[in-house]
Every structure is written in structure tokens, then in C-alpha cells.
């Protein structure tokens, strides 16, 4: 009996040491990593990989291509289409001719039927695509032979071509199943430079190069996106060599500055932080209050203090270096003006330095989504600036579930910004017809001059007319600032220095997966 116990104890001990042996450090970071394998850390992953449900709608989807694509300067260039579209019938028809000899990664050829299938499925109301309204202008899409596709629009829509970066899916795969529930959502097949090798949800997505890619086989052969929500963990894993690159907030990116073997990429963006000033709130609806707030905020200080310099002051929704930006609307903090505007409008300084008018205190609540440090800091800086003008802003954090029903009455520290065309971001942000429509025009902004400019910009084909329209719009926004635009924030990426000539695009609000220096990873060349 005793020996049996000893034996049992011995086995237990052996099992335990076996376990701890596993815990011994195995392979550390291997030196001299190859340039044909890249591991990137991102904060979130897509919900689906099917373009039918919205994946990759703005391009850079890796697995798929659109008819067109954006280059480094966000100019449109042909992709699956042979050339830029022929626009006819006063901007109501767009005709694309497909590139010859393009195949999906399963070897089947791409035809116009695939393009028609993709757009028709997205336009089908039964398909759960969240971005379907972006194709609102499309009346019909038809094939004209095997290599031509014709889009007919309901109304002339000048920026339509930029919508056709939307990825094309193979009808022979995706057409057999329900687009909402089918396996194409997790096992996609496309024409793109990469093929999905594996997806462990919440952990990583692995891609391998498509050797038969029509644009030439990529030099980077394997490409992994590690999903790491926590900024600090992402930074640590980057430092340990587990990752080759990652997106990081400004303060963590700064810790990599000057470190040998790594480079920091500072991508400019359309991603603005703004305070919505809802029309249904008596204080924020007052034009004098809006103008005073606009004059009282110190945008330069926010860029320096809140963003550690990684951003630009936002004088309107468009960033200062955008070709559409109206240069003369730049303005600095002007507290004297803020006070004067309020005095003239009858807002008299009362108890505790807070102004009031006819018994109404100049006070409102500013909500920001909890957990978002950058927005929190913006909100606090905003409240402190407003106080100097005699306006009392109470900053509160809440989840979107709580914020959504309160958007009509309370100010929200919001973030938006779309690339491609001014129409994409501005129409949904400012048009009065979309006031309070979901998350569109959250502040219920209504300004006939702005509406008119938006409509002109959307319909006109003449670049000069469009430019004048967006110019007017930006000036109107200064006169009646229904939003206090604060900053455009830069997106920072740190990446191992093993490749040549990497660039970043001007990035939209949504970023991480398709943005960053890896937007064109298929074109990366190893460093000599």
C-alpha cells in the first residue's frame, strides 16, 4: 500500500514538473526576422468579412478589389475596371469596362455578372448592410456583355465614382447562400492580393499572398492582424517583438521615438472631434451661445495638451490641408469676442460668473462615450474654455445606449470624418433632412444656406460650382456654428523598419484595419 502511494505521489510530482517545464521560456523573439512576413496589432476586428454586409466598403480590404481604388493621395485609379468610368446622360450613367483576365483566388474568372450581383445584393433591403444608404443614388446596375457594367442613377451624383471602390464578390460562391447568415461571412473568396488563411475571432486574422494576383504577387507573403483591444498590451507586445507594427495612441507611440529599428508613421486624417450643439436645447440653440463657444475654445492648446501635438486644429469639418478647405476661416481663441457676442445678445453675467438670459442659465450637459480618454480630455478642456466665457458645461460620461436617446437635448463629444469626397461626410452630418436620423446630424442642425450648398455639391458635375458650394458651406458654419469643431486627430502607427517607401493615406474616422502604413501592404518592398 505504501509503495502504491509513493508511486502515485511520484506520478503527481512528475506531472507537476512536466507542467512547470512547459512554462520555461521557449523561443524568444527570433533575430533577423524575414521581410516577407508581417504581424500587425490592431484594436478591433471586422464583424464580418463579407462585402455584402459592409466589409471593406471604403477599399483596402486585402481580400477583395473594387472597380476602382484610391492611391496614396486618395486619387481614384482603376482596379478591376480597366479605366475610370465613362460618365454619360448628364451624370446619370456610369459605365465601367472590366480588366481582362482577372480571376478570383479559386480560379474562376471575374465577369460583369459578379459586379451586378454584388451591387444588387447590397441594394436588396433584406441584406443587412449598414452602409446601403451610401448607394442611395443607384437606380439600377446592369451588365452589358461579359466585361461591361452600367450604373444608372436616380439623380446626378458627382462623387459616385468614389463609391465604386466597394469590393466585388464572386457570384458563384456568395450567390448560393443567404448573404446575412452564409459561410461567406467568415470564409470569403475574392480577387484581392491576399487570401484569408485563418480567422480566430478575438485573436487574429491570418492572410497569405495570392500568387496569381492580377497586380503581381505581393512580396510580403504572410500577413497577420492580431486583435489586441488594450493599448498597453499592444505596445508591450510590439516592444517584445511579437508584433512588427501596431496602431498606438500618441502617448504610447512617443515611447518608441528614436528607438533603433522602428519607425513612427503619423497619418493625417479627416477624423475630427466636435461638440454637437443640439437645436432642441434652448441654450445650445442660441446662435450667440454657439458663436461664443466657437470663439472661446483654444484649439491650438487642445492639439498640444490633449493630443501631444499629434493633430491639427479643426476650424470646420474639413482638415486644413484638404483641397476643399476654405483657408480664410482659420481663427484663434478670442475670449473678448465671445464675451462681446454674449453681452450683445443679452446674456448677462449672474451668480458665480455664469451668464443668464430671461431666467435661463447658460448651462448645458456635454456627454462623451465612457472609456474614450481622448474625448474625455477634449470635453474637459472644452468645459474649462466655456467657463471663461461664462457658460457652464457639465461633462458626463455614458455608454452609447444612454447617449442615443439624449442626443436631441444634450451636447455630445462626437467624432466623424469620411474620405473620398466632401459630400460623404458633410451631407449626413449637416443636412436638415437627416436631422436626428439615427446618428446622422446628431445636433439636428438646420440651416437653409448649408442645405442648399450640400445639394449643389451633391448634384453638380462642375468642379468649380462644387468648390464654391463647399466654400459657402464652411463659411456658413462659422456664422452659425451648430457644432464646435475642435481638432482633427492624427493616427499614429509604429512599425519595424524592414521595408522601403511606406506611406500613409489621409485617413477617415474609422481606421485601424484598412488604414495605416499597411493600406497597400501588397506593394511593400523589403529593404535592401
Amino acid at each position: 500500500m505504501t509503495t502504491r502511494h509513493i508511486r502515485r505521489a511520484a506520478i503527481t510530482v512528475a506531472a507537476l514538473t512536466g507542467l512547470s517545464a512547459c512554462s520555461a521560456p521557449g523561443g524568444g523573439a527570433d533575430e533577423g526576422k524575414a521581410a516577407d512576413s508581417v504581424v500587425i496589432g490592431v484594436a478591433s476586428e471586422p464583424d464580418t468579412l463579407s462585402p455584402l454586409l459592409g466589409y471593406g466598403k471604403d477599399g483596402n480590404s486585402k481580400i477583395f478589389d473594387g472597380l476602382l481604388a484610391h492611391d496614396a493621395d486618395l486619387e481614384l485609379k482603376p482596379a478591376l475596371a480597366k479605366a475610370l468610368p465613362e460618365v454619360g446622360d448628364d451624370g446619370r450613367t456610369y459605365t465601367y469596362t472590366l480588366r481582362d483576365g482577372v480571376e478570383f483566388s479559386d480560379g474562376e474568372p471575374l465577369t460583369s455578372a459578379d459586379v451586378v450581383f454584388t451591387y444588387r445584393t447590397i441594394l436588396d433591403a433584406k441584406t443587412n448592410n449598414t452602409a446601403r444608404s451610401e448607394l442611395d443614388a443607384v437606380k439600377e446596375v446592369e451588365a452589358d456583355g461579359d466585361d461591361k457594367v452600367v450604373f444608372t442613377l436616380k439623380y446626378p451624383y458627382a462623387p459616385f465614382a468614389a463609391r465604386t471602390v466597394l469590393p466585388i464578390v464572386p457570384e458563384h460562391m456568395a450567390g448560393k447562400e443567404d448573404p446575412n447568415t452564409g459561410s461567406f461571412n467568415t470564409k470569403p473568396v475574392g480577387t484581392g492580393p491576399y487570401v484569408l488563411a485563418g480567422w480566430t475571432r478575438g485573436e487574429k486574422l491570418a492572410f497569405r499572398a495570392n500568387p496569381n494576383y492580377w497586380g503581381g504577387a505581393p512580396r510580403v507573403k504572410t500577413f497577420t492582424m492580431a486583435v489586441i483591444a488594450d493599448d498597453n498590451v499592444r505596445a508591450t507586445r510590439l516592444r517584445s517583438g511579437d508584433l512588427d507594427g501596431a496602431i498606438l495612441p500618441p502617448n504610447l507611440a512617443a515611447t518608441f521615438k528614436g528607438e533603433a529599428g522602428s519607425l513612427t508613421y503619423d497619418a493625417k486624417s479627416y477624423d475630427f472631434r466636435t461638440v454637437t450643439l443640439p437645436t432642441e436645447n434652448k441654450v445650445t440653440a442660441d446662435r450667440a451661445v454657439r458663436q461664443a463657444l466657437d470663439a472661446a475654445v483654444d484649439r491650438e492648446a487642445m492639439v498640444d495638451k490633449v493630443l501631444d501635438g499629434a493633430g491639427r486644429p479643426a476650424y470646420g469639418p474639413l482638415p486644413v490641408d484638404d483641397p476643399w478647405f476654405a483657408t480664410d476661416i482659420k481663427r484663434s481663441q478670442d475670449l473678448a469676442k465671445a464675451k462681446r457676442v454674449l453681452d450683445e445678445a443679452g446674456w448677462k453675467t449672474g451668480e458665480g460668473g455664469i451668464r443668464a438670459k430671461g431666467g435661463l442659465r447658460a448651462a448645458f450637459t456635454l456627454l462623451y462615450p465612457s472609456g474614450d480618454k481622448v474625448r474625455q480630455d477634449h470635453a474637459l478642456a472644452y468645459a474649462s474654455d466655456a467657463k471663461k466665457a461664462g457658460i457652464d458645461v457639465t461633462v458626463e460620461s455614458a455608454t452609447w445606449e444612454v447617449i442615443e436617446p439624449r442626443m436631441g437635448k444634450d451636447a455630445v463629444l462626437a467624432g466623424f470624418g469620411s474620405t473620398g469626397d466632401p459630400d460623404f461626410g458633410l451631407y449626413t452630418l449637416l443636412h436638415s433632412s437627416l436631422a436626428g436620423d439615427g446618428f446622422n446630424n446628431m445636433g439636428r442642425y438646420a440651416n437653409p444656406a448649408v442645405d442648399k450648398a450640400l445639394d449643389t455639391g451633391r448634384r453638380s458635375q462642375d468642379p468649380a460650382v462644387r468648390e464654391a458650394a463647399y466654400d459657402t458651406l464652411q463659411r456658413e458654419l462659422v456664422k452659425d456654428p451648430g457644432y464646435t469643431f475642435l481638432t482633427h486627430i492624427d493616427h499614429l502607427y509604429v512599425l519595424a523598419d524592414r521595408w522601403d517607401g511606406l506611406t500613409t493615406q489621409l485617413e477617415p474616422h474609422e481606421h485601424g484595419f484598412a488604414s495605416g502604413p499597411w493600406w497597400n501592404i501588397e506593394d511593400w518592398q523589403p529593404k535592401k
Binding site: 521560456p25 459592409g54 452602409a131 444608404s133 485573436e203 508591450t236 446618428f439
Partner: protein, 330 residues
């Protein structure tokens, strides 16, 4: 016991299985009711970040397509009837059939829980015996106070502490995931290395209960007549401790095994989330915040089954090990 023991086992298992039916019904109905009352919006969860830029028409259309506005009782009944027909439904948050989600993840959760539980029982029992041998000794006091501290420490806190120490400070173990990030294959060696921290933390969170129970049980047994008799007969201390005292001291531990299963599942929930372990528990969190009824219901049923099986197992062991207890009485 005159009848063969397997007959009693089968009868007990059968009775419990019958009892499980109403339990599962009530539990799943409760889950549907609570999920329906939760502030989370399934449409928002489905659309993800895209919802924050979506217009009302899109949100309404999704709401209609997903059918989330129907009363929860109706949805529960639909789920139940199709589940009985073998179709567990489609998970809206994972964009996959529920059966596939579970198939891909169950094995990793089982591995994690099994290893953690085995370690907790073995190490916990050994420490308990060591502590009980000399009550009041420095070893006893160290083990006991450590056990009480660990009992009070929240699992996620221990997990974060372990990540900080072993992964960040020592860089000895990976901080998360199932395999190395760059690796595209799941190899046994990598999984073993990545398993150490999550399984270790989960084991440590369960271990104090076993230690304290065994310490108490063995301590009591050491003072009982059979042990005194054994010592009087001149048996070696080892035989007395392991053969007599531990055997009777282990009986309450058997009950504990059954009652720890729910705690183990809750612990796994937190551990899997912290260590991005691709298991069932991580999916449960997603399903709950996304109000993903089919996935949530299937996972709840699974958890309920695990708890009931744990209880059954404890009762069976008890019946087999303690001749005073008859299985037909349970």
C-alpha cells in the same frame, strides 16, 4: 448494497436527467427574459461601429430583418422548437451557425477547465494534507492564510497580476492567445506554453477551497478513533495520514467538486476574456452584450448541463466512496 452499483448509478443518472428537463426550460426562458430586458441593443451590436454612423432607415431595416422586436417568449419558443429539431440557429454576432461556434470553441474551454480543475484538486489536496499534518505549524499557517487571501482575490485581478508579472516583467510566458501571433498552425507545444498562465490562474482561484476543506477534513479525521486505533497498532505515519485520515477527510471534497463547477465556469469566463483564449466563455460575453439569443441560449444550456453533471458526479462519487450513503436515496 446488495444490488450491483451500476444499477444504482443508472437509476440516479436517469432521475437526474428527467429533473434536468424543467431546469433547462426555466433557465433558458429566464435568459431570454433577462436579455430582452437588458439595455443592450441587438441592432447596434450587430452593426458594430457602423451603427454609430448609420441613418434611422438602416437601423429600422436591420431591426426588422433581425426580427428583434418580437416578444421574447415567442422567440424562446421558436428557438426551443428548432433546437429540439437539431437546429441551434445562427449567431448574429459571430456571423456563424451556433453549432459551428460551439464546435470550434468547446475543445479549448474544456482543455482549460480540465487542466485547471485537475491542478486545483491535486495541488489543493496536497497542500491541505500538509497543512493538516501539524496544525498550527508555520507551514499550516502559511498555507491557510495564503488560501484565505486567494479566496478573497478576484480572478480577473489575479489574472492581470499574472500577465503583468510573467508576461510583462519576466517576459517568460505569452500574455494571451492560443498560439504565437505569427504562427499559422496550432501546435501542441505552443498551446501548452500559452495554456500555462490561464490554466494556472484558474487553478489558483479554485485551489483554496480544496486546500481548506481537505485541511479541515483530514484534521478532524486525525482526531477520530480509527486513526487513533491505527496509530496504536503501530502503522507508519504515512499510512495513517494517507490511508486513513485522508480517505475519510476527502469525503467533503467530493461534494465540493460538484459545487465548484459553476464557480469554475464563472472563473473561466473572466480568465478567457483576460487572456483572449478562444473558448466558449469569451463567446458568452460577446453573446450577452450583443443580445444574441440563439448563441446565448445554447451556451446557457451547455453551462446548465455542466453544472448538473458536476452535481451528479459528486453524488455518484459520494455514493461509491461512502458505504453509509445509498444512491437510491438521492
Amino acid at each position: 448494497m446488495t444490488r450491483p452499483p451500476w444499477e444504482g448509478i443508472a437509476r440516479l443518472a436517469g432521475r437526474r436527467a428527467l429533473f434536468a428537463v424543467p431546469v433547462v426550460l426555466v433557465v433558458t426562458f429566464g435568459v431570454f427574459a433577462i436579455a430582452a430586458a437588458s439595455p443592450f441593443d441587438p441592432v447596434r451590436a450587430y452593426a458594430g461601429t457602423a451603427a454609430l454612423g448609420a441613418d434611422q432607415e438602416t437601423l429600422d431595416r436591420l431591426r426588422e430583418n433581425l426580427g428583434v422586436d418580437r416578444p421574447f417568449a415567442v422567440r424562446w419558443w421558436e428557438w426551443l422548437t428548432s433546437a429540439l429539431g437539431g437546429d441551434l440557429g445562427h449567431s448574429s454576432v459571430m456571423r456563424q451557425p451556433v453549432a459551428q461556434v460551439i464546435g470550434e470553441r468547446l475543445v479549448w474551454s474544456s482543455l482549460l477547465c480540465a487542466v485547471a480543475f485537475a491542478v486545483a484538486v491535486l495541488v489543493g489536496t496536497s497542500l491541505g494534507v500538509l497543512a493538516a499534518r501539524r496544525p498550527g505549524s508555520w507551514l499550516d499557517r502559511t498555507v491557510t492564510s495564503l488560501a484565505y487571501s486567494l479566496e478573497a482575490a478576484p480572478v480577473f485581478w489575479v489574472a492581470l497580476l499574472a500577465v503583468w508579472f510573467f508576461a510583462l516583467q519576466l517576459d517568460a510566458l505569452p500574455a494571451g492567445g492560443l498560439t504565437d501571433t505569427a504562427s499559422r498552425e496550432v501546435t501542441a507545444g505552443q498551446v501548452a506554453r500559452h495554456l500555462v498562465l490561464p490554466a494556472g490562474v484558474l487553478a489558483v482561484s479554485q485551489l483554496p477551497w480544496f486546500t481548506l476543506y481537505v485541511r479541515q477534513g483530514v484534521g478532524d479525521a486525525l482526531a477520530e478513533d480509527p486513526v487513533r486505533g491505527a496509530r496504536a497498532r503501530g502503522l507508519s505515519e504515512r499510512t495513517v495520514l494517507l490511508g486513513h485520515a485522508l480517505r475519510s477527510g476527502l469525503l467533503p471534497v467530493l461534494t465540493l467538486i460538484g459545487s465548484r463547477v459553476p464557480e469554475l465556469i464563472t472563473g473561466a469566463l473572466l480568465v478567457e476574456t483576460v487572456f483572449s483564449w478562444p473558448g466558449i466563455a469569451a463567446a458568452t460575453v460577446e453573446a450577452a452584450t450583443a443580445v444574441d439569443f440563439p448563441l446565448l441560449a445554447a451556451l446557457t444550456t451547455l453551462a446548465t448541463a455542466a453544472v448538473l453533471t458536476g452535481n451528479l458526479l459528486a453524488d455518484l462519487l459520494y455514493g461509491l466512496f461512502d458505504p453509509r450513503v445509498s444512491l437510491s436515496d438521492m
